[in-house]
């Protein structure tokens, strides 16, 4: 019995353990990364990835998958770099429209019972197309306030860490602790039961997709604030990165099992893994492949722990 409990705990701790496993070698190789400036540089790009991961997590909660989050984040960055600078009102309107579109897609998927993968795969091309229409070649500028916000210097601890922690705690409270969050997760755990007790699955899905859209918009804006210019292909890799981060953080594709804090840790781990490989002087040709290898190792570890749990 006690063994089973330690196994379950170990599984819950796995996101933190994998983060440490990546962090410790980095600190050994480059002790300077522990400093305020070093950590801020290292985790610079973590915030948009964390936000995109939470967008993906919202959708995985209801057993769906969003294959369009990368192009969507790129589109938001393009809107931010063009409309939001030239015609702020129109820009804000466009972003609000994006969030509403996401919510509408969620409702549609539930109403018509279409597989989310099909819908979001199609949407990925729509978002990419719109981004290219807005910004045919890389460029544009970030609104001034956005750059200021992203470069804001927090005291003591580097800003990306503070933001990530804040987002993690807030997300955890909303989705895991409130009764509304619990009901929304219930829609992923046993949709039939939820419908039986009179809850609207359409509303749950629309809410979660809307939340995903909101996090996607925040992700795109924060990315723009960091890069100061946009490109229609800016964040394409976020799609797979966000899925990997959710799974790394203890989420599962089916059954509504997700962990907000785990997913945030997973996103940070993946951000660090790239730097880790750079520190090891691994040529950039091999880095992507190595990142995949790390992912496979961590995920297999999780499966093994789960199997031990069932025995």
């Amino acid at each position: 019995m006690t063994f089973a409990i330690t196994q379950a705990r170990l599984r819950a701790l796995l996101p933190a353990i994998s983060l440490v496993a990546v962090l410790v070698p980095i600190l050994c190789l480059q002790p300077a990364t522990m400093s305020y400036f070093g950590s801020s540089l290292l985790l610079n790009l973590a915030v948009p990835i964390v936000l995109a991961t939470l967008a993906q997590l919202a959708i995985i909660t209801v057993n769906d998958l969003d294959l369009s989050i990368g192009p969507f984040v790129s589109l938001v960055a393009c809107i931010g770099a063009t409309l939001l600078v030239k015609q702020p009102w129109l820009g804000v309107l466009a972003l609000v429209g994006c969030v509403l579109a996401y919510a509408a897609v969620g409702a549609l998927i539930e109403l018509r019972q279409i597989p989310s993968i099909v819908v979001t795969l199609g949407l990925a091309f729509v978002w990419s197309g719109l981004a290219i229409v807005l910004l045919p070649s890389p460029g544009g500028t970030s609104p001034e306030w956005l750059g200021t916000a992203m470069n804001y210097q927090t005291p003591w601890i580097a800003a990306p860490i503070v933001w990530s922690a804040l987002i993690a705690v807030l997300g955890h409270l909303l989705l895991m602790r409130t009764s509304a969050g619990v009901r929304i997760r219930g829609a992923g755990g046993n949709p039939r039961a939820m419908r039986r007790f009179g809850w609207s699955l359409v509303r749950s899905k629309a809410t979660l997709y809307g939340i995903a859209g909101l996090f996607g918009v925040l992700s795109g804006l924060s990315l723009l604030g960091l890069t100061t210019s946009a490109d229609a292909n800016l964040a394409l890799r976020y799609t797979l990165l966000s899925i990997a981060a959710v799974i790394l953080g203890g989420g599962e594709f089916a059954g509504g099992r997700v962990s907000v804090i785990g997913a945030v840790l997973g996103a940070i781990t993946l951000t660090l893994a790239a730097s880790f490989l750079a520190f090891l002087n691994i040529s950039s040709d091999w880095q992507v492949g190595m990142q995949g290898a790390i992912l496979i190792v961590v995920l297999s570890l999780r499966v093994m722990l789960q199997r031990g749990d069932h025995q």
Binding site: A8, R177, S179, A180, V182, R183, R185, G186, G188, G189, N190, R192, A193, M194, R195, R196, F197, G198, W199, G255, G256, R257
Partner: protein, 508 residues
């Protein structure tokens, strides 16, 4: 009296009606699930509901719980007609439902599952309130359960889940609980917890909560019910009062007769033993378990559950499908149909002719078809003929054979699995407790099929946990700790002999 009254009224019992059904009907597409139901659920009574699988019990309860809207008729609550009766209206009326296939969210904790049925649990401290409510009810119904309320449902055993589901049905936030539907509540409970539940149901009924108990365990109904509603083919066929309640009366009303004329033993005796046993196997560790069977024989596997009977069946299957001396044409009927039997997204027809495709199709082609089927391709015309023939034989009505298999009730799904095995060219049919969770009527059909097919020369090996079924077997091997302790012939296969052999420690 003499005649059965379908709607005993207030003055007769001195209780008032809580919910009244007036001419309720429900159709799903072309299938009529309920027809013209008139019934009054009185305050503080316990109504037992009996009927075979597919009789409409679960549908009726789903209408009462507001899950399905009736296509005809109307529902009255406290004497007032409610037109848009849905899940929320049912909740306001104090109706709760404990579903057969549990309605807990496995990804949430026990306490978190509370807020799915109670919209009032919100705001500050909802979690604490939910935990307290749940623990109190669990302790009241199942004293000494040892659950804290913080466990994830996915970490619980099936029994514990059922306990949580039941306790949740009785918890109260703002609307009082006035009627609780218990759909097969004891199916996963052990004897001890089932006892606790039945005692609680009686107590709750005395306390003014109407309890509806749907179960195949007629003994449970007999013990706790004030009235028994018997359903057949989507309507209420009779309502039995407590005074003339007996197992026999309920079964009689269900329109089923337990007496199936046993296969004429001499007819089968002629088939067997003519030229020694057709099949012989040596199984288990050191190949010490010897089992033999002749053509046309029905062999039973008995003993306590999980004493290696299923493993023996699988070993026989392996021997029959591998190359070598013991090779035979074999088919397997799984007991756990959800896990091992049914292809959930396939149609009834596809589920039925699957085994036939890998043996039987070629024969059918040689025997009767005008043109020979091309090797490797499915002969659709012949497949349709096979499906139609077996549909008639196993008596599935109402549903189209192209509908999904899950549109059938559990008992009918099991019949399809039987037809799958029997439609093939197999001479040897292995059955792994195939009547688990199947109603009396379907069982009778299955016994009939086994008997008919055995008479045609097919051999059956039948593992069953119900000792009554062993009377249909010619010989019975009793298992204990993965080996055979006794071989009983049909005439010596009594309840006492079986029990004695089941608990025997050493092989005879």
């Amino acid at each position: 009296m003499g005649e059965i009254k379908n709607t005993p009224e207030t003055e007769e019992t001195g209780r008032e009606a809580l919910i009244r059904f007036h001419g309720i009907g429900k159709t799903f597409g072309r299938v009529r699930a309920l027809t013209d139901i008139n019934f009054s659920f009185l305050r503080g009574e316990c109504v037992g509901i009996a009927g075979h699988n597919g009789a409409g019990k679960s549908t009726l309860m789903a209408v009462l719980a507001g899950v399905f809207e009736p296509t005809q008729g109307h529902i009255e609550v406290d004497g007032e007609s409610l037109p848009g009766y849905d899940a929320n209206a049912a909740r306001h009326a104090g109706v709760r439902c404990v579903f057969q296939e549990l309605s807990l969210c496995a990804n949430l904790s026990i306490a978190e599952n509370m807020c799915i049925v109670h919209p009032q649990l919100r705001g500050r401290g909802w979690r604490r309130r939910a935990t307290a409510l749940m623990r109190e009810k669990l302790e009241e119904i199942f004293p000494g359960n040892g659950l804290s309320g913080n466990e994830l449902v996915s970490d619980l055993t099936l029994t514990q889940r059922q306990m949580v589901e039941i306790a949740r049905g009785f918890t109260i936030t703002d609307t009082p609980v006035r009627l609780v539907i218990l759909d097969e509540p004891t199916s996963s409970l052990d004897a001890h917890t089932a006892e606790q539940l039945l005692a609680f149901v009686r107590k709750a009924a005395q306390g003014g909560i109407t309890c509806l108990l749907i179960t195949h365990m007629l003994g449970e109904i007999q013990r706790v019910a004030d009235r028994v509603m018997v359903m057949r083919d989507g309507s209420i066929v009779s309502v039995l009062a407590r005074d003339n309640l007996s197992r026999k009366a309920i079964i009689l009303a269900m329109g089923q007769h337990l007496e199936v004329d046993k296969a004429s033993a001499d007819q089968r005796a002629r088939l067997q033993r003519a030229d020694g046993p057709e099949y012989q196997w040596a199984l288990g560790a050191g190949r010490r378990t010897k089992i033999d069977a002749s053509r046309g024989e029905v062999i039973g596997f008995a003993g306590l559950a999980g004493q290696g009977q299923t493993e023996a069946l699988l070993a026989i299957y392996e021997a029959a499908t591998s190359r070598g001396a013991g090779r035979a044409k074999v088919a397997f009927v799984a007991g756990d149909r959800g896990r091992d039997g049914v292809f959930p997204v396939w149609s009834i027809a596809q589920n039925l002719d699957l085994r036939w495709l890998s043996g039987g199709m070629a024969e059918a082609g040689r025997a009767g078809a005008k043109r020979l089927p091309i090797r490797g391709l499915v002969d659709f015309a012949a497949a349709r003929a096979v499906v139609e023939a077996w549909r008639v034989k196993i008596g599935i009505r109402g549903a189209s054979m192209n509908a999904g298999i899950l549109s059938l009730s559990g008992g009918n799904q099991q019949k399809v699995l039987f037809a799958r095995a029997l439609a093939s060219d197999a001479d040897l049919i292995l059955m792994d407790d195939p009547t688990r969770g199947v109603d009396v009527g379907t069982k009778r059909d299955i016994y009939q099929l086994v008997r008919d097919e055995a008479a045609k020369g097919r051999t059956f090996i039948w593992y069953t946990t119900e000792n009554e079924e062993l009377t249909y077997c010619d010989r019975t091997y009793v298992f204990r700790s993965a080996s055979v302790t006794r071989l009983l012939h049909a005439d010596e296969c009594t309840e006492e002999a079986l029990l004695a052999a089941s608990f025997e420690e050493h092989a005879a």
